[in-house]
Point group: D2
Chain length 351, copies 4
Amino acid sequence: MSYSLGSDAMLNLFTDDSIMGEQFSFSADLSAMIDFERALARAEGSAGLISSDHAGRIAEALDAFEPDYEALRAGFLKDGAAPPSLVAQIRQALDPDIRSSFHFGGTSQDLMDTSLMVRLKRCVALSTTRLKALDDRLALLADCYSDELKLQARTRMQIALPISVREKIRNWRTPISRLSTTKPTSFPLQLGGPEGEARKLGAHYAEIAGAMAEMLGLDAPENHWQTDRQPLMGIAFWFSQIASAMGKIGQDVLFMCQSEVGEARLAGGGSSSAMPHKQNPVRAEIVVALARYCQTQMNGLNTASIHENERSGTAWTLEWMLLPALVVATGSILSNTTEMLDGLTFAEGRD
Amino acid sequence: MSYSLGSDAMLNLFTDDSIMGEQFSFSADLSAMIDFERALARAEGSAGLISSDHAGRIAEALDAFEPDYEALRAGFLKDGAAPPSLVAQIRQALDPDIRSSFHFGGTSQDLMDTSLMVRLKRCVALSTTRLKALDDRLALLADCYSDELKLQARTRMQIALPISVREKIRNWRTPISRLSTTKPTSFPLQLGGPEGEARKLGAHYAEIAGAMAEMLGLDAPENHWQTDRQPLMGIAFWFSQIASAMGKIGQDVLFMCQSEVGEARLAGGGSSSAMPHKQNPVRAEIVVALARYCQTQMNGLNTASIHENERSGTAWTLEWMLLPALVVATGSILSNTTEMLDGLTFAEGRD
Amino acid sequence: MSYSLGSDAMLNLFTDDSIMGEQFSFSADLSAMIDFERALARAEGSAGLISSDHAGRIAEALDAFEPDYEALRAGFLKDGAAPPSLVAQIRQALDPDIRSSFHFGGTSQDLMDTSLMVRLKRCVALSTTRLKALDDRLALLADCYSDELKLQARTRMQIALPISVREKIRNWRTPISRLSTTKPTSFPLQLGGPEGEARKLGAHYAEIAGAMAEMLGLDAPENHWQTDRQPLMGIAFWFSQIASAMGKIGQDVLFMCQSEVGEARLAGGGSSSAMPHKQNPVRAEIVVALARYCQTQMNGLNTASIHENERSGTAWTLEWMLLPALVVATGSILSNTTEMLDGLTFAEGRD
Amino acid sequence: MSYSLGSDAMLNLFTDDSIMGEQFSFSADLSAMIDFERALARAEGSAGLISSDHAGRIAEALDAFEPDYEALRAGFLKDGAAPPSLVAQIRQALDPDIRSSFHFGGTSQDLMDTSLMVRLKRCVALSTTRLKALDDRLALLADCYSDELKLQARTRMQIALPISVREKIRNWRTPISRLSTTKPTSFPLQLGGPEGEARKLGAHYAEIAGAMAEMLGLDAPENHWQTDRQPLMGIAFWFSQIASAMGKIGQDVLFMCQSEVGEARLAGGGSSSAMPHKQNPVRAEIVVALARYCQTQMNGLNTASIHENERSGTAWTLEWMLLPALVVATGSILSNTTEMLDGLTFAEGRD
């Protein structure tokens, strides 16, 4: 029997039914890599690096291309990357006379990093929308409470002075708003060829990279970033900051839900197998656990961010294990936070 | 579309076809939790805490019990843990007169931690066998080379003095042998009841815990360990040490496979989409990446190891996300290391 | 005997003789906290919240104030923070009639976080200057080599195709230039008072915060950030990105210095106690080790970034342990990288 | 101005006045390295590898040797390790005719790792004693309370059922007792020579290693462990487990000290600069922060545990930055926990 991380029981907690989860499927990856090849052929055709007839025929063939998934999986395992067998399959589907015009000057990492960037850009856009919705949700929640209802500010786990529900919620919202202003805005195309210098493109590099970036909705790169993972790390860090901001809300809810504090209550709380009187603040627990899970994957990425020489096969593979986990778990934390807020009510504390 | 970590493309790298991967399926977890309940009923029957007739009828009902998976998944999500709905389903399947004898004195964490320990014990046993096989494989590999063939010892990334293939391999084997002697030997039953003190079992605690441990192939606990995660952390650390020992071998292979060094060669190396002359050392890259992946999850577990009060809902949930990932990826690293060694040949270096 | 981390032998590796290291001394911290109090008094005087006579006399007293360090250290240990005893000492030094106007509406965290932000701003400025100098140094180094000298691009630890020294160096410079454009630009004042809502300042909050920020060279905050650590985390992440960019250079130098590769040589290499022929690439090793040290501290900070309730005594204390270590080690990595580059020469590789 | 991590203000929190802190001073390191050389000379003299006259004269010279610290520091920085200049200084102090008998067959890492192991063994012994004292302290504390006094067990941050003070304390003590039984018992000598194979010792290896181990109070190694860091990692993990066990106690105290809970009170609590009524649970905060600090350093060590080739200059240097920090902070957490317990009283909770 085969196994995948997060399978079965825990799968449910990680499930992200949004378009975000879908971005890390094999098919989404392949589709974006095929888009890369189409853009490359077109841009090279326009620049006169390959004939425009070849460019057009390659683009058409890519439109019609149907990958043999089984063979691609086998190739992925053998090559440690999908592009070699993908490129081979596509080349096989082309008329022999145009094969040498295909994938001209590109390399595996160009396909993979560009595909990743296209999909991350979608995830950032989607997360921004969801953060906005969450912020609105918090604003509505604040509006439900008059300033009469007093909670206790607690500093260093001791009661300090009263604060209102609105103030508490404002403190949750500040980092959420800031995430909108600090959201990643640079999603560079990766184009470097075998050694990073894209020699086959020669003087046409800027023209081709610019045209491709426009076709793919990305930014034209100043330089390849195949070992310079800052563009990726900045995006990953943003996702981890979302996770931490949600974790703060979940943590606060847990503290307020404590039996003796009683300032918050989560509807739909989990039951206990032994104590029928208990209502466990399940959704808040999951939010905090997911936040810590995201931090863990981010820390691994941080450690993986030094790529040796001109391309690192190990750091690369490690990124594929950690980054999707971080992004999808961030998607899941956003849904779980929303669900938690839907069940949240505040009350005058017991003190 | 739903998503799970490690899905699709990366799934292949993580796949562990052994019985080890299977241990973290929902069905394996449920099955071990049902075993817990059977052992609890029998032990309580023998101790006279419930009638032996009830104990026998509960055990029979558990033998015949068929879980409604769909409902259990829903319950899991709602309660943040599987046992509440599992216990409810089983209780429903019992004759009303014996229901109060069921799950007597137990609590969710007793089921979950015990189930985890039973399955970890299997994973440790399996890994020990696989480490032994790997060690034998290395011994055979060493035997293939005469002492004439000289590699270079490299210290601080500079050539030091010659060493033989056998010496190189001996250095890989030492930590593997040590892992056999340091392997976890304590797999305690968890039995604490709602607050950890198992009051309903009263003076029968040691008797019941001892009997249950024997039935389940576990060790009788001196105390519950519901917030004392040392037993779990020790096991997790051992798995992470396997990963690091394999990572060392993979790292060394990568260094020796460098074009200029040429002391090692991996058959079946991955091809490049742009440079047909290249043979990439894919299997070694995957071994190193998996080692770093395992270290990442271990580090998260380390951070999660302080459980507040008498039971932590967040640290618990986080463990479920990280520990299976660590163990299954360790399984995967063992298969990938074996596969790497199958393709490994040494050669006089180019210097 | 007392001990401090990084003492003695290792101290040398961490020593940062620049103004950056000095920022984390107790005296620099106290001095910035005293500046906070002066700015608070003046702003409150202008706003009419305290009398302008009191404000002037407080400012004068602060100018003349000489802290009793010994008592402050004892207070720090007792209170877990320096401000309570600092405020008490200052208050003691004031004429009794103006004591109630002092520290009006402020709290310990306001002093500490603002002091930290002032000093971090200086560290960012200094690091920016040093990054610029390093970038210029790299440009000069590139200019020393004609395009004739060919290195090998290595991808996945295999020789790919030739690249020039200038191209190699350009790849190191890209992330350094980007660090100039992504450098932190927001250094907010912290002003929240006991519960974060700064109630004693009332409607004057924006006016006072704005005036104080201007006096202290900081940004006026939209909201307090006593539990919202994004401002701090963004700065810490930037430092860790410097460390990773330097680590990449160090790592590449190590790979190129390998005996069989011979594309780079570090003058002043360390000697071996046993092998006189060896020249160890010490400075590059230290750069890589410091990069990994910085990543470690950053990962700890990431884990510490969820502060519970309205002020977290534990997360706070943890920040003080990790953040200075990260920043000072980044300073050290910048000096060590410069020193490494001073001794670096490239050569046609041995292949 | 020079700087060291943890300097000034934070220094106090890390200060460990015990012999443990002293182990990581430069002088303790040098002294243990000199012991290594003495043992090496004597063992080689007995084995006839060097003349026994030379061995005796080397031992005498070592007894009288006074290191030039300033020169050693400079050498350390240049060589990235202390031994090369230490060995050179000692050799200079020897009569020319016996110089070639000195450091015969040894290498820098032999001195450094053996010195580290000797000092870690002392730290383990000292920590064991302190854990025992702490356990006794907890036993005494438990004895102060009758079973009448009821605390609340809290599971998933909700009140579950009552437990007694004694039961609470028993749960803290279980992991402490287990740490006594799982304490590291293997402290191997490191002896490998330049390439790990100690060729100059030839067939005398086992004899010499055995004699040296006995003289130094260490275990005779089966193989060198210069790249096999399991012996070190096992010890580091044990220290991190101490930290986590203390962190658990600190965390629980913080939860019980919450204003609304009121089940515990810490005497000598820190005061607030703004709220005279508050008593902050400072010592518990420091314990938790130190626990998280230790986990952070442990995680870095875990990441550093794959040493490439036959000796890694970077992983080695990183260990020196992280391991002393972990051990000394563990020492500090033990003192801080003791101090916390000295001020701890329990009370019937407010509910």
